[in-house]
């Protein structure tokens, strides 16, 4: 019962923090330079790892798809299977988890260290709102860059799937691409991008919130980082189900 109460309290705190962050998004001054810095750190900095994981995820999907569909003589549908799986599901979810591990943890550690070494207090005493200066650029950058990274993941995954299907499973390129065209439509792309957008905002809000409220020195920062990664990962999987359920029932 106490655990459940803590979960709801944590959720309430996060919603209030999100509301405060959103309110500051629309207030000048506009910190374009900070936003670009964060977009580079979260987006550009994660591109390589997202591309590599995407490539291998697509390669595995092609192997598994071929294994399953060969039993029905439907190997040609592997292209569509790979594309839909990547665009609707694996792209946003895996990208969300990779960004959580790479950037979410870094955000919590950085803000947590700033909190326990009084740098955030110092900023507040200099008449600078720390949510505006530190949180808003990170949340905006993650929200904007997550869909881009999901596209990179899916693109690289499709390339990996194509290579495996073509050169290992010996599926001709024609049916692979043709079934992708017939099975994948623009709604699937929007579905995946919406998920990535939601995951980007939720992961960054959880990570910044945990860092912003860290206490208790280095140990407190470590605990806050662990909580941020666990909460973000669980939130991605829960929200993935909710969005999918709402979209297709």
């Amino acid at each position: 019962m106490r655990g459940l109460k803590a979960v709801f309290e944590g959720l309430g705190d996060l919603i209030l923090f999100a509301a405060e962050t959103v309110a500051w998004v629309f207030r000048p001054p506009w910190r374009t330079e900070l936003l670009l810095q964060q977009m580079a750190a979260i987006g550009v900095g994660s591109t390589f790892i997202v591309a590599v994981t995407g490539l291998f995820a697509g390669m595995v999907l092609a192997l598994q798809g071929n294994y399953a569909m060969r039993q029905f003589g439907a190997e040609g549908y592997v292209g569509g299977f790979v594309a839909i799986s990547l665009v609707r599901e694996l792209g946003p979810v895996f990208t969300g988890l990779m960004v959580t591990g790479r950037s979410g943890s870094a955000i919590t550690t950085e803000l947590g260290t700033m909190r326990v070494s009084e740098q955030i207090d110092a900023m507040e005493t200099m008449a600078v709102n720390a949510v505006h200066y530190l949180v808003v650029p990170r949340v905006l950058a993650a929200t904007l860059m997550m869909p881009v990274l999901a596209v990179v993941f899916s693109g690289m995954g499709y390339l990996g799937g194509y290579l495996i299907a073509n050169y290992v499973s010996l599926i001709p390129p024609g049916p692979f691409i043709e079934h992708t065209r017939t099975m994948l439509d623009v709604h699937d792309v929007f579905h995946g991008l919406l998920k990535a957008l939601v995951f980007g905002s939720v992961v960054s809000l959880i990570s910044t919130r945990q860092g912003y409220s860290a206490s208790g020195g280095a140990r407190g920062v470590g605990e806050a980082t662990t909580v941020a990664v666990v909460m973000s990962s669980v939130a991605i999987l829960v929200l993935d189900y909710v969005i999918t359920f709402l979209a297709i029932g």
Binding site: E110, E118, Q119, D121, A122, T125, M126, A127
Partner: protein, 248 residues
């Protein structure tokens, strides 16, 4: 004329009463030191003055503004009155010395030309006896005393009316402590700022204070000029000061 007026200030955290009816006032252009042992409520008092904490009862007025009732943007604007030097300096470790000192100016005067900005930063560093050679250093490359100096330069750069010092000499060697004391006095003399210092360093407190108060168990045990406090007959104050005077 008083710049800071604290009236009947009470604050508890859970069951623990940290401040119990604090009354004090700090005159314009003077240095007021709050002395006390660890856990006496000094930092909590300072955080009320700058509006980082809200009181349970009582009020804090700075330059006629009621800090305890301000929220949001109004509080942010009121903080432009202040500069604050933190115990650990609290320099932004992702910025160079130049960017640290320039930070308050960049935030308040966003269209200031770079040459003027640089001039103000250099001038502020000069007040604390630092040269242009430190501009490109990172906080991790500075000694403890230099960090405190840069922190004061950052606190002074935007011409605050009030500078707050949180344990400015804690953990410093006697020579650096002496130079930090001189720096506090120079900031008062050269810039005419009103200062509030919280400390448990008795020697340092008597060097910089125009007036001082001794905080004990959330109450002010003695308040007045350094000489008046030294002659206080409050048992705690006598015990607190005894060791240092014996050494003298």
């Amino acid at each position: 004329m008083a710049t800071i007026v604290v009236r009947d200030l009470w604050k508890s955290f859970g069951e623990k009463e940290v401040l119990r009816g604090i009354e004090l006032s700090v005159e314009k252009g003077r240095t007021f030191v709050v002395l006390g042992a660890s856990g006496s409520g000094k930092t909590v008092l300072l955080k009320h003055v700058i509006g980082l904490l809200k009181p349970d009862r009582g009020s804090v007025e700075v330059e006629g503004q009621e800090m305890s009732s301000l929220e949001g943007l109004a509080l942010t604007e009121a903080r432009q009155l202040f500069g604050m030097v933190f115990q650990g300096a609290a320099l932004f470790d992702s910025m160079t010395v130049f960017d640290n000192v320039a930070f308050p100016l960049r935030e308040r005067k966003r269209r200031m030309p770079f040459d003027e900005l640089r001039g103000r930063v250099v001038e502020s560093l000069r007040v604390v006896d630092l040269g242009e050679d430190v501009l490109d250093l990172w906080p991790a490359q500075l000694s403890g005393g230099m960090k405190k100096r840069v922190a004061l330069a950052r606190a002074l750069v935007a011409d605050p009316k009030v500078v707050l010092y949180d344990e400015p000499t804690t953990g410093l060697d006697p020579i650096t402590t002496d130079s930090v004391d001189q720096m506090i006095n120079q900031a008062k003399e050269r810039r005419g700022v009103t200062s509030m210092v919280i400390s448990h360093d008795i020697a340092s407190a008597f060097r910089v204070a125009d007036r001082l108060a001794v905080l004990y168990d959330g109450r002010i045990a003695a308040q007045g000029t350094p000489e008046e406090v030294r002659r206080s007959d409050d048992p705690y104050v006598r015990r607190f000061l005894a060791l240092w005077f014996e050494k003298q």
